[in-house]
Amino acid sequence: MQCCVCKEKPATVHLTQIVGEKMQKLDLCEDCAKAKGINDPTSFAMADLMLGLGASQELDPSAGAVEIKCVRCGFTQADFKKSGRLGCPECYQTFAEGLSGLLKTMHKGVRHIGKAPEALRKSRETGDRLKLLQKKLNKAVETEDFEAAAALRDEIKILSGAAPAKIVK
C-alpha cells in the first residue's frame, strides 16, 4: 500500500476515525506521518490532519485554472495546502467555494448557530425571525389559510420596516 500523501513510499502508519456514520482512513509512510506530527501525539489531532489532506483535495485548482489569491492578504491555495490554516478573515470569502465541501465533512452544519457580537445579535435575530415567518407565510398561502397569511404578512412588514413582504409560492 502506498502512502496517500507522497504517493511514493509504502504506508506503514494506518489511521482510522469514525465521525458520525462516515469512516475516514489514512495510510501514511513514516516520513509523512512524522511531517504531519503523528509521532508527537500531544500536538496531533486527527481533524487537523484530515484537514490538511482534505484541503489539498478540495482546494486543488482544476487543470489550467488560474490560482486564486486573497486580494487582502495575498494568501494562496498552495499556502493553505501547506499549512491547513488560512491567511486572514477575508480568506473565507476568497476561498468560499473550495471551503464549503470541507466544512461539510468537518462540522455538524455549515451555518453558525450560537453567540454573535452584540452589535450584530439583533439584526441576526431579526433575520432568523423573518426567515421563519416567511416560511410560515408560504405554508399558509399553500394551504389557502388567507387569514393567517394576512397576519403573517403584517408581522413581516413591521419586523422588516418598510420592506414589503414577498409572497412566494
Binding site: 476515525q17 469514525i18 465521525v19 458520525g20 508527537d40 501525539p41 500531544t42 500536538s43 489531532a45 486527527m46 481533524a47 487537523d48 484537514l51 492578504c73 494568501f75 499556502d79 499549512s83 491547513g84 490554516r85 488560512l86 491567511g87 486572514c88 478573515p89 473565507y92 471551503l99 470541507l102 466544512l103 468537518m106 462540522h107 455538524k108 452544519g109 455549515v110 451555518r111 453558525h112 448557530i113 450560537g114 453567540k115 454573535a116 457580537p117 452584540e118 450584530l120 441576526r124 433575520g127
Partner: protein, 357 residues
C-alpha cells in the same frame, strides 16, 4: 517584568483546589478562539503586524475587571524553562510555548483565566475550573468575551460565525474539555470501548501529555471537535451529559473491581506504593503511572489520613520543568530521575503501607 514564580500559585496550593467530582474530573476548561477583523492571522502575519496585534490586544485584555490582578507579558520575555512550566500547568499550549516576538500571555492571579495572544489565532482565551464545572467555565468565558468585544473588533461572518485561522475552529470557536482520571476503566479494560463510543459522538479523547490513547497516568482529555452548526450551550450540554456518563462508568468499574478483582487492584496499588516510596531513580512517565494508582488507592481508602492533594501536587512537581526549576544546576534526564525519586520518597515518608481490606 514581574517574577512569574512569585505570581504563580504554588503546586501545593494548586493541588488543594477542589471542585465537584474531582475524584475523577481533575479540571474543566472552556476555550474560545477570536480574531481581529482587520489583521492577518498570526501564522500568516509578518512580525510588525503581529507586534501591532499584540500591542492592541494585550492592554485590552489586561484592562478587564477579571484581569485586575494579572500577569501580562510578551512571550519573548519568558525563559524556555518558564514556558515549559506554564505548559506543565496547562496554562499555555505547547504551540504557544514555541512563540516569541509578537505573542503574549495574560493570566489572572487565581489562574482561572488565561489568554494566549497570537497563538494560532489572535486570541485564545480560556476559563479554567477545578473539578467538573464546564458550565461554570462557559459562563465565565462568555462574560469575558462579551466584555472584550466592546473594545476589540472581532472577525465575524453572518453565515460562518467567528472566523478562525483553522477552519476546524470556525463558528463558535469553542473547545470545551475536561481532564479525567480513569484508572478503574483502564484496569477493567473498558477504556477502549468507552473511547470508541465517545469518538462516535464526535468528541475527541486525548492523553494528558500524549502517548496516543494510552494516556500517561490514566489521565484522559475529552473535548468537542465540531464548532460550526451547533450552539455553545448545546455543545456544553452534550459534553456534560457524556462526562456524567463517563464518571458513572468509572465509579461502577471501581466498584466492580473491588467486588470481583480485588487482588488485581490491590496489586497495582501496593506495587505503586512500593516503587514510589522506595525507588532511587524514576522517570517522569513511570512516576505519573504509579501516582495514578496511588491516587486510586487514596480514593479507595487504602491510605487513611493521606489526602489526594499529596498525589496531585506530585503530579506537578515531578514534571521535568518543575523539577528543573527547584535545582539551580542544569540537569540531564538521568540526574532528574535521581532527584525525582529522592523527592517522591521524601514526600511519601509519612504515608504508611496500603491497607488492604
Amino acid at each position: 517584568m514581574k517574577d512569574l514564580h512569585q505570581f504563580l500559585i504554588s503546586p501545593s496550593q494548586a493541588a488543594q483546589q477542589h471542585g465537584p467530582h474531582d475524584r475523577i474530573v481533575m479540571s474543566s476548561r472552556v476555550r474560545l478562539a477570536r480574531n481581529l477583523a482587520d489583521f492577518a492571522f498570526p501564522g500568516w502575519a509578518k512580525k510588525p503586524e503581529r507586534v501591532k496585534i499584540l500591542e492592541t490586544v494585550l492592554p485590552a485584555v489586561s484592562a478587564l475587571p477579571e484581569m485586575a490582578d494579572s500577569f501580562a507579558e510578551a512571550m519573548d520575555n519568558f525563559t524556555a524553562l518558564d514556558k515549559q512550566i506554564l505548559v506543565e500547568r496547562h496554562l499555555i499550549s505547547r504551540e504557544h510555548a514555541a512563540k516569541n516576538v509578537g505573542s503574549g500571555l495574560v493570566l489572572n492571579r487565581a489562574e482561572t483565566f488565561s489568554v494566549m495572544i497570537n497563538e494560532e489565532d489572535h486570541l485564545r482565551m480560556q476559563a479554567l475550573r477545578p473539578g467538573f464545572q464546564i458550565r461554570e467555565a462557559w459562563n465565565a468565558i462568555d462574560r469575558f468575551d462579551s466584555a472584550l468585544e466592546k473594545k476589540l473588533n472581532f472577525a465575524f461572518d453572518n453565515e460562518l460565525g467567528y472566523l478562525t485561522a483553522c477552519p476546524t475552529n470556525l463558528g463558535t470557536g469553542i473547545r470545551v474539555s475536561a481532564m479525567l482520571h480513569l484508572p478503574g476503566l483502564v484496569l477493567a479494560e473498558q477504556i477502549n470501548p468507552i473511547i470508541q463510543s465517545v469518538n462516535k459522538l464526535g468528541l475527541a479523547v486525548r492523553g494528558l501529555y500524549g502517548e496516543g490513547t494510552e494516556a500517561l497516568g490514566n489521565v484522559f482529555q475529552v473535548s468537542n471537535q465540531m464548532t460550526l452548526g451547533e450552539s455553545e450551550t448545546a455543545i456544553v450540554e452534550r459534553l456534560e451529559k457524556v462526562l456524567s456518563q463517563i464518571i458513572e462508568h468509572e465509579e461502577n468499574a471501581r466498584q466492580t473491581l473491588l467486588e470481583k478483582k480485588k487482588k488485581i487492584v490491590f496489586n497495582h496499588i501496593g506495587r505503586a506504593y512500593g516503587i514510589l516510596a522506595n525507588a532511587h531513580s524514576i522517570s517522569s512517565k513511570e512516576t505519573m503511572n504509579q501516582l495514578s494508582f496511588l491516587r486510586l488507592g487514596i480514593d479507595m481508602g487504602s491510605f487513611p489520613g493521606t489526602e489526594r492533594a499529596l498525589v496531585d501536587e506530585l503530579f506537578l512537581t515531578t514534571q521535568p520543568a518543575h523539577l528543573q526549576k527547584q535545582i539551580s544546576d542544569k540537569l540531564s534526564a538521568e540526574e532528574r530521575d535521581l532527584i525525582r525519586a529522592d523527592m517522591v520518597r521524601e514526600r511519601l515518608k509519612n504515608v504508611s503501607r496500603p491497607v488492604t481490606k
